[in-house]
Symmetry: C2
Subunit: 294 residues, 2 copies
Amino acid sequence: MDLQAFLSEKRAVVEDYLRAIFATLSTSPDVLKDAMKHSLFSEGKRIRPILSLAVCEAKKGRAAAVLPFACALEMIHTYSLIHDDLPSIDNDDLRRGKPTCHKVFGEAVALLAGDALLTEAFRVMTDPRLNGNAPPEVAKEAVYEIASAAGAEGMIGGQVVDVLYDGKEGTRNILDYIHRNKTAALIKAAVRVGALAGAATEKELEQFTRYGESLGLAFQIGDDLLDAEGDERLVGKKLRKDITKQTYIKHYGAAQSRKKLDELVREAVQAIAFLGPDGDMLNKLARFVGKRTF
Amino acid sequence: MDLQAFLSEKRAVVEDYLRAIFATLSTSPDVLKDAMKHSLFSEGKRIRPILSLAVCEAKKGRAAAVLPFACALEMIHTYSLIHDDLPSIDNDDLRRGKPTCHKVFGEAVALLAGDALLTEAFRVMTDPRLNGNAPPEVAKEAVYEIASAAGAEGMIGGQVVDVLYDGKEGTRNILDYIHRNKTAALIKAAVRVGALAGAATEKELEQFTRYGESLGLAFQIGDDLLDAEGDERLVGKKLRKDITKQTYIKHYGAAQSRKKLDELVREAVQAIAFLGPDGDMLNKLARFVGKRTF
């Protein structure tokens, strides 16, 4: 199967499931659901849940086994964008080509919609209506994996340092901390829950972890390159706004960043060589992350 | 044992455990941990975790079995206060007698500290270092219970309607929705996870649920009465600020509210009559909620 066909097939699976999640919310206020949906259904690449699905599939696992965790990750990613865009953090008006959540619903509702997406992500992972088939020990481990990756030692930790060092000198160590946590942690978790749901062995999980880590860092360097060199109309958000931020471009220059990105993609591909032909789509996904233009 | 001794014993158990949680956070930025601690260790009543402990104890369960869930609830309660206090929602400067989180750490860090407390709550419930003894099916059910109570159909739903109807006419139905969700849902969940960890039967869980529901509503009516009639120095936050909000006082008057509160406490006490002498402390806790002055 070619990558574009795979991506659109999986994107449809993810979006159907996300819609099914909203069908389980009956008593919540409409404006809250509208605000959550505004940001959740907005032409996202769905790269995290697609990675989870692809890894699970490479291990011959069923999509149903990984979908609650895959979609929880997408909900968490989306909440983090809503909160990032708020005036007290990045103060962004545009995201994925649409006005940001607080621009449409006001700051209070946007803040609470973010909180709700984060909270509901954990509900989804454990809701018997949605994950009836997940063995409790897999659900418990996936919640732990995802909460750790999204929490104070993961995504939020990275986000805090990103905010603190905005406009400051910074070091390569600081840059590394931000990149490993702000973006890569959740991408690594996406790969790991895919492996978990696909019943990977301990040894295989280690290799998948290496794949996820390399891919996560590659993804963030790609983001930095896009911000510096990308086309605003294609990317769907305001670019050239990271000049005060700690980026790979700032600390290593564009040419070195591109080299590092290519190296990480190679490392990712090597890490899953053990899969043989079953790793075909994961290889393509890694190369795609290396070359994306949006 | 008398109630005050019970409360301070349990408060100490909860606070030791909360400190142990922070000891598991090694790589997160100090400022983030400081902001989380600022709000988490600030003379809270710890009513939610104490309820969980008391219910579990009434069923002869071990404290260790319920502590991760009890403390997760306290973390979630605390995050909701941090976000509520932000300028875009209630814009409060004072909480539990101290400056609010954003007053000390700035809005961006306060927002992220709230996010981190919410996320870490789910980590705590599933972290093998902290809940090694919780059977996976109990952990899964507790995560579901707590995420549902804290999410779009629970606390956040109530919070959204509270914000939307601030300064509006409102109806008794609206008031009921806000009260049931904004405060009572989490208190009910505290009681239910205590019962879950104490291996209550299905039938007992129903009774505990009734206890938790009545107590949760009683607690919120008590809050409304305190805001209208309490002593600011005792309560440790700004009072008389709910005049634009949907409160029991506004819709029923103070005398009727007091009557409703007493009635709910009686209902709570009745719901756990089946426990006999084992329900002694839960009775006292219900009466305490009926009479609190802070």
